[in-house]
Amino acid sequence: MPRARTRPAATPARPVTLFVATRKGLWTLTSDAARRSFKLAGPHFLGHIVHHAVLDPRDGRSLLAAARTGHLGPTIFRSIDRGRRWVEAKQPPAFKAGSGRAVDHTFWLAPGHASQPGVWYAGTSPQGLFRSEDGGATWAGVDGFNEHPQRKAWCGGDQDGTPDGAKLHSILVDPRDPAHIYIGMSSGGVFESSDAGANWRALNRGIRADFLPEASAEYGHDPHCVRFAGGNPDRLYQQNHCGIYRLDRPGEDWTDIGTGMPKSVGSVGFPMVAHPRDPDTLWVFPMDGTDVWPRVAPGGKPAAYRSLDGGRSWRRQNEGLPASQAWWTVKRQAMTVDAREPAGVYFGTTSGEIWGSRDEGRTWRCLARHLPHIYAVEAA
């Protein structure tokens, strides 16, 4: 039975800060109260590959950044003053000795439940789930997942990963229940735990997996990004390797909501974001997934697509974006929304530009350019 919904309120008209994680470091982009002008600051960790930087919404000042360099192993940097000073984690995420597995990089950071200050989750490449109970200083594996006897079957072997390494991402903690957690894996699929990670079950029914020999496989799918609907954690949206989907719990069958996308654009992409309050509103940013997967804007004409009806219909939103010959795209963590009214929507490109809209995608403006390849953008 669906549990009670929690409807977040819009935040007051205060500045928005974007945390921009790139292949060469971390920058911040901070607006004025009207979100008209933005000021770029940084870099932090110049030369480090920063996959994700997330501000803790529970205290508004703790900030974690997942970093590595081309040569060195992965680590996590922590700040308790929004990035003024940093310290390195004493014990970064690492698999158990003897497991044969090594963390290549931490890919996804997720603050824990509001009732558990100091708890964070991290998803790694290859697929691993880690938890910190001290604000990111020390990390331990979630054994119920990392040591699960089926883990290799779920995730595939070392050669089965995506070109930049297989990833565990989209760690979603139910705002009503800290023990109820969803994760996404590329590859592997969506999994759910109802007991704080002790046990996991696949949740992929209805998702196409046209790259697998068995179309109705229980797992092995490739979700690119999974989000809670705004204000309704009984609804999940998913941008998948094979389309766009919605799941309404307690149902277990995903509905294909990519069928309304224009055929010339398709329903492949990496990022997906949900409106902060309206559970029927979401955005995707399609890319060319035909042929050899060019992974650029279809036809060199980038556009977001927004649905106001839970994915039944879509509308192109490209006013202000380049009309042609723009061959960038947006990675799965590089699109985000703020909590203002109307919601601001932001994305970072593989060509180092930040674009923003303060009218829910109707018009776009370039907020920063000449940054390195952007991996993640988070708004706070």
Binding site: H71, L72, G73, E88, K90, A94, F95, R101, A102, V103
Partner: protein, 105 residues
């Protein structure tokens, strides 16, 4: 078993590449002393890295993964010779060089 004494220690110079100097306070070279159980048994690279980690916490994990394997783009030289693995012997007085491969764009 013989007990290690202050006199029975191998002293090794470790040259630190620039990506790791944030751990050594900018020092390009660090000297570490590793207790010897017997003079004829020099310490291994593993022991040298453990001693280095004792002084500069976090450094070892950036170059050796959780399974004890040297990370892909890191090489270690002992006295100018490429070490085959972390069990390689490091005679007292020798120099260990950590090399971060030059690659990428």
């Amino acid at each position: 078993m013989a007990k290690a004494s202050a006199e029975a220690a191998a002293v090794v110079r470790v040259r630190i590449p620039s990506p790791l100097r944030s751990y050594t306070g900018g020092e390009e070279e660090v000297r570490v002393a590793i207790p010897l159980l017997a003079p004829e048994h020099p310490p291994s690279l593993n022991a040298v890295l453990a001693a280095l980690e004792g002084r500069h916490h976090g450094l070892r994990f950036r170059i050796v993964d959780e399974q004890g394997r040297l990370r892909p783009h890191i090489k270690l030289f002992v006295g100018g010779t490429l070490a085959a693995d972390l069990a390689a012997a490091v005679p007292s007085g020798s120099e260990v060089m950590i090399v971060a491969a030059l690659s990428g764009g």
